[in-house]
Amino acid sequence: MTVDHVHGTRRAATRRTAARADSVAGIDAALMGIWADLARQGPADPTTILARTRVLTLVVVASRPETAERAMDAVLKLAGRHPSRSLVLAFGDPDGPAAIDARVQAHCHPFGGSSEVCTEQIFLKISGEACQHPDAIATPLLVHDLPVALWWTDDPPIGGRTFTDLVALADRLVIDSGLFRDDGRARLVSLAAHAREGLEIYDIGWMRLELWRMLLAGLFDDPALGPFLGGIERVRVTVARPGSVVRISRAALYLGWLAGRLGWRVDEGLVTSSEETQRCVVTRRGRRIEVEVAAEPVPEDRRFRAPGGLMRVELEAIAGRHRATISLVRGDDHLYAEAEIDGELRARRTAMIEPFEDAPYLADALEAPGEDAVFGATLALAAKLVGGAIEQA
């Protein structure tokens, strides 16, 4: 083992101590060597104490090298807020020779003026036979008695052996339904089927819908609009189609949320009615509500890192003899919502959209206490909307 001080000058803002290893036992030895070395060095500021801190083990799976780098970047940004042992598993060539190449490091940050908090990161590239059993590599590296969060950074192969084995280790699963492959239907249905007691699922795709949910729900705070909630007749969600794929996973989650909150009954899933449109009918107390998901071609730019991002939501509703139309429209950096009653503007709201970054969503997913019950109910309905046979509660 070699211990390499990347930068360790006294009073530096952060310092990193790193080592390399080529086996699980070697990683353990490297970690112990790093801690012994830090103990010998003492804190960067002699008036503070050096603390090894971790509140969870974060296992990150990256099936591509570029996502592994992005994941490591997000993990390091979180080190101060969520001190954890982070294990980034990057998959190399599965047909190559069996190999483990690990970079082990401790990051130390000054904290609160009285201590220097150190966290551990293990960046693990596995190839060959080792790709078949990543859980056997991850298990010995989990910290005793701490919860395990598994963040699957790419399209998760839900139901596959690798996925199932790694999820079995975890208390919390963080995925991004916006990255589900193809149109997202199959993954959404599999995810709903794999939701089990004791596994808390946090979906970054769902979390990114929060602004859309808040803005729409906020419009109905207006007493004049409240009565229209029970009289929605039509909903149209338009999603971005930057390439050729029409991905409807996030639209389905948004519609699933509406269905769950407003007591809509989903009897049939969305079916394709034209190249750009999918439709179904849901009911509320026997009344029909027309649901439509449309795709709109957009240029492939940073705004839409994956297909299926929401662009517009339009609702039509009646209350007595009055008719309301509600629309939410995505601009370059903001969301704009307005509601009209009988053609007259009644309410208007705007919200800023922050540029997407993994770290804040990951932080929220790790911080949230317990299960996200609203997501759980939404997921079941969204799966049914895309054609899964999930029982509606």
Partner: protein
């Protein structure tokens, strides 16, 4: 590779490689305190620990939290990362009442820069000094065998050609499902190691 797949080992071998036990000490001091022991070959990792799990209080003084706090735990880590860890529940800062388990962790490796001597170095030196305090006493050894001998004898009675339901496990796992059932019967589960 599991034991039965090792070269020169019968694929139907009944040689024991794993044990999970629930024991009780029948005296007033330990009444109602179960002792769970688990050890085996080809587990996912090599660790030796003693964990003392504290009882839940009969009455929670906290208002309803969104998540149930885990039981407090005192862990004596014997090897490989010698140390002592105390786990307890702490309120997450903020206006909501959320509770999360936190650790107070003492590790010899990061607290002292001097390496501890190998276990046998200490014992051999104690032999030379005539100090028996780290050695097992004869009555302790007899008590241990009085627990293990009936299990061994029952095991020997098994017919290798017609074994009873044999609780086997894959290499690299935490033992057979029966070991989990042992804990589940008591409404518990093995700690995450």
């Amino acid at each position: 590779v599991g034991y039965r797949q090792e070269p020169e080992v019968s694929p139907r071998s009944l040689t024991e490689t794993f044990v999970a036990l629930r024991l009780e000490v029948q005296n007033w001091r330990w009444a109602g305190v179960p002792f769970y022991l688990r050890t085996g070959k080809r587990m996912p990792k090599r660790d030796t620990e003693i964990a003392v799990q504290f009882n839940r209080p009969p009455l929670s003084l906290f208002r309803r939290s969104s998540n149930e706090p885990e039981a407090n735990l005192l862990v004596l880590r014997i090897q490989p990362d010698e140390g002592i860890m105390l786990r307890f529940a702490s309120k997450v800062p903020g206006l909501e009442l959320n509770v999360r388990s936190v650790h107070m962790d003492f590790s010899y490796g990061s607290a002292f820069t001097v390496e501890a001597p190998e276990a046998y170095e200490t014992l051999l030196l104690d032999v030379l000094h005539g100090d028996a305090s780290l050695f097992t006493r004869a009555d302790e050894v007899e008590a241990a065998w009085s627990i293990v001998t009936p299990i061994n004898e029952r095991w020997k009675q098994m017919d290798a050609r017609h074994p009873p339901q044999f609780p086997n496990y894959d290499a690299g796992t935490w033992g057979p499902a029966e070991a989990d059932h042992l804990m589940e019967r008591d409404g518990r589960r093995w700690r995450r190691l």
